[in-house]
Symmetry: C3
Subunit: 344 residues, 3 copies
Amino acid sequence: MEITVKEIAEFLGGTVSGDENTVIRGVSGIDEAGQGDITFISNPKYRKKIESTRASAILVAPGIKSEKTLIIVNDPYIALAKALRFFDKGEEHPQGISSEAYVAESARVAETAVLYPGVYVGPDAQIGERAVLYPGVKIGSEAAVGEDSVLYPNVSVYRKCLIGKRVIIHAGAVVGSDGFGFANPGRENFKVPQIGIVQIDDDVEIGANTTIDRATLGRTWIQRGVKIDNLVQIAHNVTVGQNSIIVAQVGISGSTSLGRSVIIGGQAGLIGHINIGDGVMIGAQSGVTEDLEPGQVVIGSPILPHRKWMRAQTIFAKLPEIYKKMSQLEKQVRDLEQKSEKEK
Amino acid sequence: MEITVKEIAEFLGGTVSGDENTVIRGVSGIDEAGQGDITFISNPKYRKKIESTRASAILVAPGIKSEKTLIIVNDPYIALAKALRFFDKGEEHPQGISSEAYVAESARVAETAVLYPGVYVGPDAQIGERAVLYPGVKIGSEAAVGEDSVLYPNVSVYRKCLIGKRVIIHAGAVVGSDGFGFANPGRENFKVPQIGIVQIDDDVEIGANTTIDRATLGRTWIQRGVKIDNLVQIAHNVTVGQNSIIVAQVGISGSTSLGRSVIIGGQAGLIGHINIGDGVMIGAQSGVTEDLEPGQVVIGSPILPHRKWMRAQTIFAKLPEIYKKMSQLEKQVRDLEQKSEKEK
Amino acid sequence: MEITVKEIAEFLGGTVSGDENTVIRGVSGIDEAGQGDITFISNPKYRKKIESTRASAILVAPGIKSEKTLIIVNDPYIALAKALRFFDKGEEHPQGISSEAYVAESARVAETAVLYPGVYVGPDAQIGERAVLYPGVKIGSEAAVGEDSVLYPNVSVYRKCLIGKRVIIHAGAVVGSDGFGFANPGRENFKVPQIGIVQIDDDVEIGANTTIDRATLGRTWIQRGVKIDNLVQIAHNVTVGQNSIIVAQVGISGSTSLGRSVIIGGQAGLIGHINIGDGVMIGAQSGVTEDLEPGQVVIGSPILPHRKWMRAQTIFAKLPEIYKKMSQLEKQVRDLEQKSEKEK
């Protein structure tokens, strides 16, 4: 595939600085790019690489100047995404149901769905049009996978769980395992049956080896457009609001509810039964133990407002110095008191 | 299935407040319940929902009053568990060994065991009566699974590992991977073979994608009645004592030993070669680096006694204020000293 | 197998203290060892067990004295590793490709490779000599596995990813899932295609259920001799330098680069786009947000130099006491100021 810089700029809605007739054949990272490649600068940290890259063109944000051929766009990361979709058509799949997949008689699999070898689809399960189930995907009885969804190898969906349309689930993820519910914990550990489901709405992406537990009753609910990274734990009866972003290794405890557009940094943990407002941002490794109003930006374990935490952390390192000064002050004050006593 | 409130109360050992002839057809969450449903209040936080729920009856703890039909029980969560078991009989399984499962010739599989398609049972492995191996479960050579145990999709049990009776292992969990043992780490990284096993005793439950490493020598040992949540890491030669509870994403390092009824909150980490006494409670996100006497309640990284940590954390947020006051005090004391000097 | 203490000492390059004609038949842990077993002491914590063990011989470091039969070696842990390899020959595998494995027509599988039932090898994939793919391993199209590598059950390797020679990957690990790249996060969540690969060099070991994301462009790169524990998250475009050690549940964010021989303790997290120098040691549960020069030893979240953190942590527990003293000091200083005012 060959295309000129001018054509790419038109496709991306950007403007060209430099030779618009330069021919592009592919997309590449700034370090690896060679002649015929287009590359991008998104993180300002790498701006100086514009001069050293061998790429034939560079996607940049407004305000960057260079003798190199640039395509100036509002958001270079979105432009990159579009360029990648243009140059990379993704994997081609074999057609239909592999003879080495197992499909229960009562299951309904769309004719255009792709089932690789080693797939299992249980009784009364449904697989939508153009869905792709990679090798080793297991769909439990009465579960459903919507159209155009892609489940990568060895994903497990337990019975009755519902996966929407255009959902992507990466390898090894588990949807619908039992919630961790035991009465009289540490003594009797009496198991509470988990008879609810997991409902995953349209356009969700779920990372590799992430686990989402089914509800005790009702549903654990991942709403439309949510993106969840790898190795995340979502407990029973959690709700994750539309378009929220959950970075790797986060854990969300039971019955906690997230609003829309919440962003949670890696390795953060949330206790159960709390409400997180729309647009809240929670820093990496935070520990959240209370409700949060919409729009708050917090970090720490337990959390503080972001600025307050920054100031407190800065001083944390000075604690030995503070402790020493404190002892000195105590001595000085004692001396002053004794003097003052004598003077009486 | 239909049953009166009176009959349920008798079955659960509770007393009725309200109309004991009300007919119940199912169990539901307090928000979703409708006519004919019984629901429950366990967390006092939700007590006010008693008046708004449309459930026909509510399981509650003693002391709660309402015009609604209540069944008063000592522990509503245990009562819920019992009611759920009554109404939900769980999944029905096909009989016997699927023709699409692989069973080594020398393996012994009980006649009443259920092996779904895509199951692998290696040489000399044993599967007990009524055990259920969901699609994609892999049982290594010489490993054993006890009677009435249930292994969900894609669980991997390495060779020689022993799984007891009535054990539940959720999807993607790994039992018996090599312990992380390398001599001269960071330089030679010389692998120490891990030839021990994992032994899981009766009535244990293990969460989705949890990993339990085999011992270097001897065994990694999960004792009777232990419940482990999702994405937990148990390293080689760890012992987890009876009825302990380990919440999601906890990591326990090599050769550490837990007593009975230990409870560990989510995302906590324990270093290796330490002993944790019976009944210890470790807070979420804690970092434990020392032995703990029985019954201690600790939190923090590194840990402190719970109350001490709470007090210290409260003041952590005030560090900028403390630092400012300290500087003022220093100035004030300097001024006083100068005055005192002059007065001489 | 029978061998004398003298022969073992010669094999390990150690010296004997005690009866060198003692016959050894196996290796065992210090608590479980019986007559005919050799055991070892590596952690000084267990030194007193030398006298109580029933083992017939003990591998020890120089300087330890006992009436027991000892083999004195420079590094007992390395000696143990060698002894274990001597006594334990590992698992024997069936020959060749199971009739219940799926191999695409265009894939190239070496004649000496072992493919268990339920293995999937996609189009144009390559499997090297003597490689072992346990049941349920999935190799995507155009991916490659080098000679003598061992992939345990249910490992997923996405398309085009490259696995070197003598690599060990434990059950459920995922290599090549999409990096977590979304433009306009929290609002549009526009997916950036991830068209790069994962490259894993020779002699790497990867733990159970660990996830390694493919690069956006270029490669995520795990260099020679790296050892990664269970449940670790490696994001897109990360480089892990030779012989580095990454303990369980660590998370490394996108485009971060580690030098050689870096050691990262369990549950630590690193943000994206930073450089960690050769030989850096990062403590467990740390949070790293900045570049680190070679050889630094850090801990904490955010990190501090190890000693500084130790001192600050010690004082953290005294914060309530400091706060109280501060209030007292303020009062004392106020009193002194008033006195001084009056005296004027």
